[in-house]
């Protein structure tokens, strides 16, 4: 029960922090010109909510400042993406530990971490798509980061498909862990290779951040990590309860 309380507290904290970061992004963070992009066509300013002064000149095909919305979603998108990476690494580490020690608990930890990571990766995908729409005027772009995330999401879904198709507990754990390790090795290769393949698409992605905006970003990041850990702890305590129920059932039968 103590764990569940911690989990609830962490989820609440995470919620408050991310919300705070989001509001700060709107009210305290200054609007910056990050990079500039030259496009030949009129950019459809996404969601039509960017202030007039930030709209690109109509149909002139000149340098254009990143619109308003894409800056705001930054405070949500980047923290969630980084959190997803972190949880994914944790899942891979638990998988390796499981392969060595063969304890059922490590398998459960790896699985729960993978679940949490999948939630975060899906959130990253959604906010990422919003960003591409706002920033580049398209919903989807086969750009290295997006592509890698898409493939990663597929591998994580495959992880759960694999788990569901095996009945025997230990074999399920071993196969899932082997696949998790393989996927973890594969993800960085995917990213590197999508960057070096010859491509016709313009590279439109430039990052940078002024220190005055660091505060909402850090708050958002902390919130996201608290949220992630909270979800993980909550799911783990649920799993432990379920195990106890199983044990009790077995004892009754015996």
């Amino acid at each position: 029960m103590k764990q569940l309380k911690i989990a609830i507290a962490l989820v609440l904290l995470g919620g408050v922090l991310t919300t705070a970061a989001f509001f700060m992004a709107f009210y305290t963070a200054e609007v910056q010109t990050f990079g500039t992009v030259t496009l030949d066509k009129t950019v459809d300013t996404a969601f039509g909510i960017a202030p007039q002064e930030l709209q690109p000149p109509q149909g002139q095909g000149v340098a254009y400042e990143r619109p308003w919305f894409s800056q705001k979603i930054f405070y949500f998108h980047v923290p969630v993406a980084e959190a997803s990476f972190l949880v994914l690494i944790i899942a891979a580490v638990f998988s390796v530990i499981f392969l060595i020690k063969r304890r059922a608990a490590d398998d459960t930890k790896a699985r729960v971490a993978m679940e949490t990571a999948l939630i975060f990766v899906i959130l990253t995908m959604i906010t990422g798509v919003l960003w591409t729409r706002a920033s580049w005027g398209v919903w989807w772009e086969w750009e290295p980061r997006l592509t890698t995330y898409f493939i990663m999401m597929l591998m994580m879904i495959a992880y759960f498909v694999l788990r569901n198709s095996i009945e025997e507990d230990e074999r399920r754990g071993v196969y899932a862990a082997v696949f998790a390790v393989l996927a973890a090795v594969n993800a960085p290769i995917s990213f590197l290779i999508t960057r070096i393949i010859p491509s016709n698409h313009p590279v439109v992605f430039k990052s940078g951040m002024a220190s005055s905006n660091l505060l909402p970003f850090i708050i958002g990041q902390l919130g996201m990590l608290a949220l992630g850990y909270g979800i993980y702890v909550a799911r783990m305590s649920e799993e432990r309860l379920r195990e106890r129920v199983e044990l009790a059932k077995e004892a009754l039968e015996g």
Binding site: I151, A158, L162, S165, L182, N186, S190, I193, T194, I197
Partner: protein, 243 residues
């Protein structure tokens, strides 16, 4: 003493040859894998024709030929890999192997090399056919880089497919969904390799100025993928067999 003396008799090379020989004899007898892979490849070519039938006169198939070619291989290899491991699983033969004094990597290399050979045979048969059906009649037919470059790209790609595929197929034959599970696991893991070999093959087929640079860069990336992933598959295979 007695135990270690008798162990000296065991030769991994002899065991490896036995597995490979057994797979080839079985395949020559039933022709099960080669016919199913070959026929499936032909069917995919028909589907390509349907897909391209309305593309119009100005459309150059050559622009996307490398992608189409690798698509055939990826789907036929799924079929072959699954078959190859089902043979071991069906009558429990894999258990008979595991209970014998054989190093687990020998099983991995034996099966992977067998799969590579069958995949290469299918490629030898499909590549010329593909060329004549889709590229032969085109005005650009004269251009294109040397054939050995395409061969190299095919080999490096097939190596990765056979190696990682053998590991994944060994897992998938022990699941409920066999071939479906294999596809779900295989395609995302193969993604970086496919991307590079398609780029390399495409560079040679199109032979734009400076294509050799692109080709070698892509081949380096593909070889890097092969090296890392084969090492990982080799290391993880023992865990899969032990489960």
């Amino acid at each position: 003493m007695a135990a270690s003396e008798s162990s000296a008799r065991i030769s991994g090379w002899r065991q490896f040859k036995a597995i490979l020989h057994k797979d080839i004899v079985m395949e020559l007898r039933t022709k099960e894998m080669l016919t199913s892979m070959g026929l499936y490849a032909l069917l995919v070519l028909v589907v390509y024709y349907i897909a391209l039938s309305q593309a119009g006169q100005n459309f150059q198939v050559r622009q996307i030929a490398a992608g189409l070619l690798w698509l055939v291989f990826i789907f036929t290899s799924l079929l072959g890999l699954n078959r190859s491991l089902v043979h071991e699983k069906d009558q429990g033969c894999l258990d008979a192997l595991l209970i014998s004094p054989i190093d687990r990597p020998v099983i991995f290399f034996g099966k992977a090399v067998g799969n590579l050979i069958f995949l290469v045979i299918v490629e030898v048969f499909i590549v010329p056919l593909f060329y004549f059906i889709f590229l032969g009649g085109q005005s650009q037919a004269e251009t294109g880089g040397p054939i050995w470059m395409i061969t190299l790209a095919l080999l490096v790609g097939s190596l990765g497919i056979a190696g990682v595929g053998t590991l994944l197929a060994t897992m998938s034959v022990n699941t409920n969904g066999k071939d479906f599970i294999l596809a779900v696991l295989f395609i995302p893991i193969m993604f970086p390799l496919l991307l590079t070999v398609v780029a390399a093959t495409s560079a040679v087929l199109l032979a734009d100025p400076g294509y050799a640079t692109v080709f070698w860069k892509m081949m380096a990336a593909a070889s890097g993928y092969d090296a890392i992933m084969l090492l990982a598959a080799y290391g993880l295979y023992e865990f899969v067999l032990g489960a």
